[in-house]
Structures are given as C-alpha cells and as structure tokens.
Symmetry: none
DNA sequence: AATGAATGAGAGTTCATTCAT
DNA sequence: TATGAATGAACTCTCATTCAT
C-alpha cells in the first residue's frame, strides 16, 4: 500500500480491473477491426490512431480506454491474426488422409486466409521494426507446429527423412512467398489452380514424396 | 517486367545538371553509406534525414543537394543493394560445375551478403509500404534470373522437370527465410554448417536431385 | 484578512443537498486521503483524478459525486492540512511556560507534522498557481495567529520589542525552510537534534532572548 | 563508429556541433525571454511550448531547434535566473563596510531582483516537481555562498558566533518570504521602507548584532 | 558545394469532465 | 450511491522539406 505511485495514469487495461461490459466489448472489437484495416492498408507507420478511431466511429480518446497505445493494438492484432491463421491451417490440414494431402489443404487454408486478411502478411512485414518480439513469436509458433507435424509424418513413413525444423521454416517461407506473389500482388482471391499445383509439386518433391502429379491436376480435387 | 530504373537519385527536376565533381561524388557516397546503416538499423520510418546527415557528417541541407528526398535515397539504396546481391550470387553460382553445386554456392553467397548487409533484408521488408515499386522490382529481378538458370539446368538434364517460375520464387523464399532465421535473428556471421547442409538437402530434393553432395564435402554427418 | 472558507467541496451547485449517509462519508474520506497522497507525491498537475480514484478504489465518476472537480479537492485538502498544522502547533506551543519554550514546542510540532504529512509543504508550493487564494489564506492564517502570540509575549516582556508581523512571517519562513531542507530533502523523520538546537538558537536571538535553553536540555554542545 | 544509432533525432544542442550563428543566438534569446514570462505568469504546467513560441514570434518547431524540450528550457531558465540573483546579491553586498550593511544591501538587491523578475520566485516554487534537481542546486548554491560570508564575518567578529549553515538557510528563507509577501502579493516594485527596516532589525538581532535601529530608520538612505 | 535556420503539419497521448444507467 | 463509457481539446514533440546565403 505504500508502494510508489506510478506516474502513468489509468493503465489502459494493464490492470485487470473492470471486466468490460457488453458495450465496451463491442467498442473494443470495432477498434480492433478498424485497426486491421488501417494497419493492413497503410502499414504500421502511416497508420494513425486518428485513422483507426475515425474508421471505428469513436473519439480519439476512446482508443486509449481500450488499448495502451498504437503499439499495443498492433501487437494484439498480430497475436489475433496469427492465432487465427494457425487455427485455420491446423483445422484444414487435419482433414488430410496423408501428409501430402494435409499439406495441400494447409496451403489452401493459408492462401484463403491471406486473401481474406491481407493485413496478416502486411502486419508481419511491418513487425520487423514495429514489434520484433511478435514477429519472432509468430514465425516460431507456426514453424514449431509445422515441424511437429512433419516429424510425425516422417515417423509414419509418409515423407522422407529430413530435418523437420529446416523443412518447416523452408515450407513456411514458400507459402508466404507464393501468397504474396499470386494473391496480394495480383489482388486475387486465390492462387491460380496451376500455380497451386506446381507449388504442391514442389512441396511433394521437397518432402521426398513421389507425388503422381498428373492425378492431382486432373482428379476431382477441391 | 524488369523495367529499367534510373539509378541516380538527383532530383528529377535538375536532370542532367553538373556531372558531380570528385568532392561531390564522395559526399554523395558518404550519404548513401549512412543511409544503409540508418535504414538498416532503424527501418524506414524511424530513419530520418537528420540521422543520415549526422552520421555522414554533413548539414541537413546538403542531403537535398544529392537526393530528391527520403524516399529517393531509400529507392536508390534498394536498387544498389539489390544489384549487389544479384551480382554476388551470379558470380558465385557461376563457379558451380552443375546446378546443385551452383545452388550451394549461390545460397552461400546470399547468406554472406545477408550477414554483411543486414540492411538488404530489412530494407526489403520495409519496402512493402515505403516503395512497393522497388519491392516488386527486386523480387522479380532475382526470380527472373533464377528461373532462367533453372530452365537451362533442366534442359541440360541436371534437375527434374518442373515449373521454373514457381520453383524460383519458392527457392528465393527459402533463402530469405533461412537467412533471417539463422543469420539475422542469431546475429551470426553465417548460417551454421549443419543448417546449411540441411537447407541444401531440401533444395536438392525440391529440384529432384539425389542429395549426395553434402556427404562429399563433409563426411557422413547430416 | 482571514476570511472564512467553506470547507465542504461538494459542488457549489448542489449546495445543501443530502447530508451524506455513513457510507458516503467513508467514500468521501477515502478520496480525500488518496488525494493527499497523490497530490503530495505527484504535485498538482501530474496528479490526476484517475489516480486518486484508483488509489481510493472507486470509479472515476464517483469522484464527482463528492467533489466539484480537481481544483475543489485540492482546495479542500489545503484547508484540511492547514487547519491541522495550525491545531497541532497551537496545542503544542500552548504547553510552553514562556515564549521561548513555546517556540521550541511549536517548531517541533511543525516539524513532526511535516514529516508525517509531506503533502502539506508540497501542496502549498503547488498552490502558487493551482490556487493562489488558498495559498494566501494558509500563510496569512498562520502568520496572524503567530503575530498575535508574539504581541502577547512582548507585552509580557518575554521577548524584545519588535514588529510582530514581520517577525511572524520571518519565523514562519524559517520553519518551512528548515523543514524542507532537513526533513523532506533528507527524507528524515525529524530534524536532527543539533540542527533543531541551532535553529532555536537563531530564533532566540531573533526574538532578543538570551539563548541559554539549549544548554539546559543537552549540555554544552551546540 | 559502430556504436548503436540513437533513436532520437538531432539532439537539439545536446551535441556540441554548430556554435550557433548570430541569427540563431538571437532567436534562442527571444525564446528564453518568452519562457521567462510564460513560466513566470502561468507556472510550469500551464505554460506551453505553444505559448512560448507564440510570444517569441517563431514557429513551434523552432523551439526544438534550440532546446531539448519544455523541461530543458525550464532548467535553463532556473539556472539563468539563479546565477543572476546570486550575482546581483554578491555585487551589492560586496559594497557593505560591515556584515550588517552587507546584509541590508544584499537583501535590497534580492528584493529588487524579485520585483524585476517575479519569474525567479515562481519558477523556484514550481521546480519542486518540475525539476527537483535544479531546486536543490539553486538553494544550496545560495546557502553555501551565504554561509561562507557569515563564517568570515564571524571570524572578523562582526556578528555573533552561530552555526553559519543554519543561519544561512534561515536568512535565505526570510528574504524569500518577505519578498513574496510584500513584493509579489502586493505587486509592488519594492518592499515598503518600514518593512525593510523591520526585516533588517530582525536580521540584526538574529546575527547577534546590537544594531542601533533608530538610526537606520531616520538616517538619509532609502 | 554546402549550410544554418526555420517551418508547420501531424503524430501519439493524457485527462478533467459528463452522463445514462 | 456508484459506475462504466465516452469525449475532445490540449499537450509535447518529430521531421521532411525549403531557402537565403
């Protein structure tokens, strides 16, 4: 009780107090959505709290009722998007009957998410300086899960033996780059089917799976 | 797709004026070097003309004698670094007796460049918003050259038949990601040998080449 | 000169309304205590209503149920502390058998209060701009009472004849400065004994009294 | 040369570079004068950089060319005023033929300075929170010099033997309080002569000098 | 070829206060 | 009696850029 008085004011949610009534929850979500758009379109630095609050339809001061500051929303946004891609990919790849199918489903889920949330890619690129901590966290989280899945597949004999860590980072890179090139740059809703096929052929080879590529191209896939 | 870019930043308005005496050339280079450090360490937005000129040891006004503005130096820096990696990689990979060896030499050259010029990677990440034009230009330039080399190797039967474009983008991504992870994040001078080997093993598989070469060089380790 | 001040902050507009139930009284006191700490540690301007309410454990809105605003609590706090030092000093000095003893007891009481309520000194310093009205009120109140006591002592022949007003302001200044220097700056619980003795020696001389009393108490030291 | 790049920009004179041309010197002085008025009239917190620059007739940005920030000008102002009172007092009291005369001249000089630079007193009061460091520095500087002079006078037998440190702090307090009460509060150009005489009588007694007060009151001085 | 000086728009952030509940 | 939510004006500070010299 006699601890020093902090110089900063009401710590904008850094204290656990007040569980946020329904009205607050809604406003907060509106701000987070606005942040996704603004950060996604403008990048970290050209984004401004003013633009976010304007888009959310609240006063500037309101922003600080819910977030500690610009960087804080940014990090929350990264965390949120990161969690959601990971979830989407893991749900999708979980449907695959073997690793190769799982890869295709996972890549597709990732591409779909990229098309729907261009902010993910953009926010990650900006995180290099805006929040290195979150950048690492994001990549490592994905890579770790990916490597684990590869290890299991390898143990089941579905793919060649290879270092799962390097393979995971490499394949993660591939997905990101193809998404950037054929979705974001082309402002497309999805990677063109033939590019997807070729990408998956690359993945198959890299995993040491003699995928019969002809079948993939012509079969009734989805 | 790879349209030429004028390299001289020099204010577009004062086009051909005064070919720059020896003193001017030196000042200009000092500014460009300072820009590499400042943009590399601070990112586009936290970099400031003031910091660049301070590091270069000239007055702020001097900056505008040589460059059209902040964005102009940035673009010139991207162009410069991009040209230099490409050159380093093409020289290195030109020494390879087959495609696989060329790949290893090329990757090594790229990693070396990354360690010596962290600004390249960082500047590219920032270019997403700071200068999308240069971002595209950089990646496309590399990918185009890469694809060409793969096409030739494929024709010579050194690698499996596969779409060279997708393969080029994918491998470019791999190099960038591994460099980020094991050089920049670890602040290392080079990718650890075993990671390099595993990376090359990945590349070999992806190119449909039986991955024996690592063994040739380093005995039976990994 | 010592015009009366209404003590109750309670928004001037809602004048006599609701005499404040027992719960309200408690909340109000909690807020006032919190205000003492916050104003005392942070100063008028760095203090914020948010910090006061946080420390008091109530919502921000609650604050305005009991006080008209930030300035209003501040003034109430000044009035409260001012009344309390005056009371402490007058009780203490009332025990003295002559003026000199009364002075020593009064100074001691003042120093004790300063150590226990550093906020008094700090709040007074801030009042220069935060509430000049209260600043004058505080000093004049003390000086008036002090002068009165000096006048009486002079009439009784206990001290030399001298202008009581100037003497009162001068001695008040001395007490404040010594307290600042040896209690607040040193974060001490009391003025060191030898400093107290020397201070009282100064006071004795200033009052034209042969300064023997220190010796009576502590032998031949200061 | 490879030391970390500071995140802050041109360090607003924290670097020693550029000795400030004549134009710059003038602007800087205009800003400092404006700061004296603004801080003096409004106090630290209600003063704003905007008000200072407006009064100085320059753009807001210009302020930061010459000062590190609001607190930095404040401290420079304290240092400046502090140096100047000390100088004025020491010059004045140096003219005295004995300590008592020196005291009178010193007090007069101090009161004159207070009347001409009300900002001194006000800025010092604000320094309690705005810059405790400068507050201590100011008081200690004066007290130290004062004590030294008292020690010398005591050695010469001009005043009674008494602890010079406590005496110095006490007399400093007296001057400040009398100045506050009879110059600043009354918005007067000088302490009324009879108050000055009574103050000096107090000082004389406190210093153990049997001043023939009658003479001072009636003699032909001022 | 180089520079010192100035600018002003705009950034992130704080906070006393209001009000419906 | 108490509160959560919202506000918007004001603040300090940064920076790319211009320009006369």
């Amino acid at each position: 009780m006699t601890r020093q008085l902090s110089t900063r004011g009401r710590d904008a949610r850094s204290n656990v107090s007040s569980p946020l009534g329904p009205k607050g929850v809604k406003t907060r979500q509106r701000l987070l959505n606005a942040a996704e758009r603004v950060f996604g379109e403008l990048g970290y630095h050209d984004a401004s709290v003013a633009k976010i609050t304007e888009l959310a339809g609240v006063a500037q001061g309101t922003f600080y009722v819910y977030f500690g500051g610009k960087q804080a929303v940014f990090e929350e946004l990264v965390a949120d998007l990161s969690r959601r891609v990971r979830h989407a990919m893991s749900v999708a790849s979980g449907q695959g009957r073997d690793r190769l199918e799982a890869e295709r489903l996972g890549f597709q889920a990732f591409f779909r998410f990229t098309a729907e949330h261009p902010a993910l890619y953009r926010v990650i690129r900006q995180a290099e300086f805006a929040s290195p901590r979150m950048l690492h966290w994001h990549y490592e989280h994905i890579a770790d899960g990916y490597a684990e899945a590869l290890r299991a597949a390898s143990a089941r004999g579905e793919i060649a033996e290879a270092d799962p860590e390097v393979t995971a980072w490499a394949l993660m890179a591939v997905g990101e780059m193809i998404g950037m090139r054929w979705i974001l740059w082309d402002e497309a809703k999805a990677v063109p089917p033939e590019i997807l096929d070729r990408t998956m052929a690359f993945v198959a080879r890299a995993l040491g799976v003699a995928a019969a590529p002809a079948r993939e191209r012509e079969g009734p896939n989805g």
